[in-house]
């Protein structure tokens, strides 16, 4: 047996395995633990070039809510004491480790995110789920504590089926119409955040309406028509104090091999 070949075979093999199993650690932000899963999703987007959306649960239990009035409000002491309080989600710190092959395909990335969500739920946080729809993976709530402490099922508000009559609209007008229709059907307002890709949406025009589509599908279709498909993702945040949602957007660029 050729000794040199053995050495190359053995050490070369070790090297390949080590490279293939290079691990990545992502963690929640200790300065802002309000939405740890959103923070981790954001890091996966940036590191792995994956198109993932995130949606908050509607937090309803005191254990999941934090009062940040004292530190966040610029109101007077009187307003801080007796005015409406600023309530935000209270998350749990989490560190998550995955290896490169764990995000090498859409199925692998989905399984990895599922593992991350299971680990977070085991910490006592709300339960999320991940599904693939169109060009994106979508992380949205599954179960959350209600006001009396019972774990209750809660899905995505973007599953709401909507219809919008055809009319001449630009992208922003159609986006606003989608949010308005979800509010009409659910009672929950969704504000369009300032990170909306306004330059792209303003340039886009359509006469089409929406007929019996989920809000999520309508949103995806609009974004993918107005921008590079899969390049824009959203974070739908819920404010426990204002009891409304805000739709934030991020540009992830040309998406990689996952959810392409």
């Amino acid at each position: 047996m050729c000794r040199a070949l053995l050495v190359v075979l053995f050490f070369g093999g070790v090297s390949i395995v080590a490279a293939a199993q290079h691990s990545t650690t992502i963690a929640s932000d200790p300065r802002d633990l309000s939405r740890p899963i959103s923070t981790l999703v954001d890091q996966m987007r940036q590191r792995e070039n994956i198109s993932i959306t995130y949606e908050d649960p509607r937090y309803g239990n005191a254990a999941d809510i934090e009062d940040v009035t004292a530190e966040a409000s610029k109101g007077s002491d009187l307003e801080k004491a007796y005015g409406p309080h600023i309530l935000v989600p209270k998350g749990r710190a989490i560190t998550f480790v995955y290896a490169s092959p764990d995000v090498g395909s859409t199925a692998a990335a989905k399984a990895t995110i599922e593992r991350m969500l299971r680990e977070y739920a085991s910490l006592g946080g709300p339960a999320f789920t991940v599904e693939r729809e169109g060009m994106r993976l979508h992380v949205f709530p599954n179960e959350v504590l209600n006001a009396t402490g019972d774990l209750v099922r809660q899905g995505s508000i973007l599953d709401t089926v909507i219809s919008i009559p055809p009319a001449r609209r630009d992208g922003g007008e159609l986006l606003q119409a989608i949010c308005d229709q979800i509010r009409k059907n659910t009672g929950y307002e969704i504000g369009v955040g300032p990170s909306v890709p306004g330059n792209s949406l303003a340039r886009y025009g359509t006469n089409a309406g929406i007929e019996s589509q989920s809000g999520l599908a309508a949103l995806e279709r609009l974004l993918d028509a107005a921008t590079l498909p899969g390049s824009v993702v959203w974070d739908l945040y819920y404010g426990p104090d204002v009891k409304t949602y805000m739709l934030n957007f991020s540009y992830v660029g040309s998406v990689g091999p996952v959810a392409k």
Partner: protein, 319 residues
């Protein structure tokens, strides 16, 4: 720099044929004005263009150093023709005139391609329909890319603010060698130097930190009179203004920088900052950075402001 091909210069001026190149699509760069080089023939062309599309200038060639051969012609919608005269008998030339008919190429509008013909008659091609030719290619007909020196902006009125998009700013490019110099070009936005700052945001806010351009690589086409073909929306929109007022976070301010880049084709005389970029559609192009803008967005209890390079638009209508 490409080595001069003296044989080909000889062939051009003395009436022998050079292979013809095919034309492609009709292009719409506004002006042919500039100092063009044609390395394959070791020739250069100093061209001026009037407002009506009239082209004047002169040709220089290494076979007849120091002599300026006059040029007249026209350019319209990126399609030009010009004729070099005064050649016959100078430095032994047998050619009376030499005409170039061609197109200005996009992106960049700083490369051209087409056919030449002379009085012998002979004809051939010049340049190539490729903004990024292989390194070392001498079949180029190019000029240094024109780069704006700055931009001017029209400050939006309060009535022009969009509740969804915020304040629409329209820019006009300044500089260039001729009127409408930049028409037919594309400009792109990218994140500028360092991170921005957002004093409206707080831990747990439903509005994410807003301190960067939202779509790096977004393109605006330059229309007539060097104006951007659409607005750049800068600032907070209505939902964010209402949210931060409700949460008692005002007064507050978001700032960031925006690096503007203009498209360019290859030229050996391009600025050293010429380099590759990716646009928001995932496409690759080459460009030259030309301006770093400071953007700002403020909220008070009664106003929303949008600021671009020191100019501010104030909206007092959002409650």
């Amino acid at each position: 720099m490409h080595a001069p091909n003296r044989t080909r210069v000889f062939l051009l001026l003395f009436g022998l044929a050079i292979p013809t190149q095919a034309f492609s699509q009709l292009l719409s760069c506004a002006t042919v004005q500039g100092n063009w080089t044609w390395p394959a023939e070791d020739s250069s062309f100093v061209l001026n263009q009037g407002a009506s599309g009239t082209v004047t200038g002169y040709m220089l060639t290494s076979t007849c150093a120091g002599v300026q051969f006059p040029i007249t012609g026209t350019n319209s919608s990126g399609s030009f023709t010009f004729t070099v005269t005064g050649l016959y008998g100078v430095c032994g030339s047998f050619v009376n005139w030499l005409t170039f008919t061609g197109y200005l190429g996009q992106p960049g509008c700083n490369y051209a391609y087409g056919n030449w013909s002379n009085s012998i008659p002979n004809s051939g091609g010049f340049g190539q329909d490729d903004p990024y030719p292989p390194i070392g290619s001498s079949a180029i007909f190019v000029k240094p890319v024109d780069v704006p020196t700055s931009e001017t902006s029209v400050t939006p009125t309060a009535a022009q603010w969009s509740t969804t998009y915020s304040a629409p700013w329209i820019q006009t490019l300044v500089g260039g060698l001729a009127p409408s110099e930049f028409e037919g070009r594309g400009v792109y936005e990218y994140a500028g130097i360092g991170p921005g700052n957002d004093t409206c945001w707080f831990k747990g806010s439903t509005v994410k930190i807003f301190a960067a351009v939202t779509t790096p690589g977004f393109e605006w086409y330059i229309s007539s009179k060097n104006a951007w073909g659409g607005p750049d929306f800068i600032g907070w929109n209505l939902a964010a203004v209402q949210y931060y007022r409700t949460e008692k976070r005002v007064p507050c301010l978001s700032t960031c920088t925006q690096q503007m880049v203009i498209d360019a084709a290859y030229s050996p005389q391009n600025p050293s900052s010429y380099g590759p970029y990716t646009n928001s559609s995932g496409g690759s192009f080459y460009g030259v950075p030309y301006e770093l803008n400071t953007l700002g967005a403020g909220i008070t209890a009664t106003t929303a402001t949008s600021t671009r390079n020191g100019k501010t638009s104030t909206n007092t209508t959002w409650k």
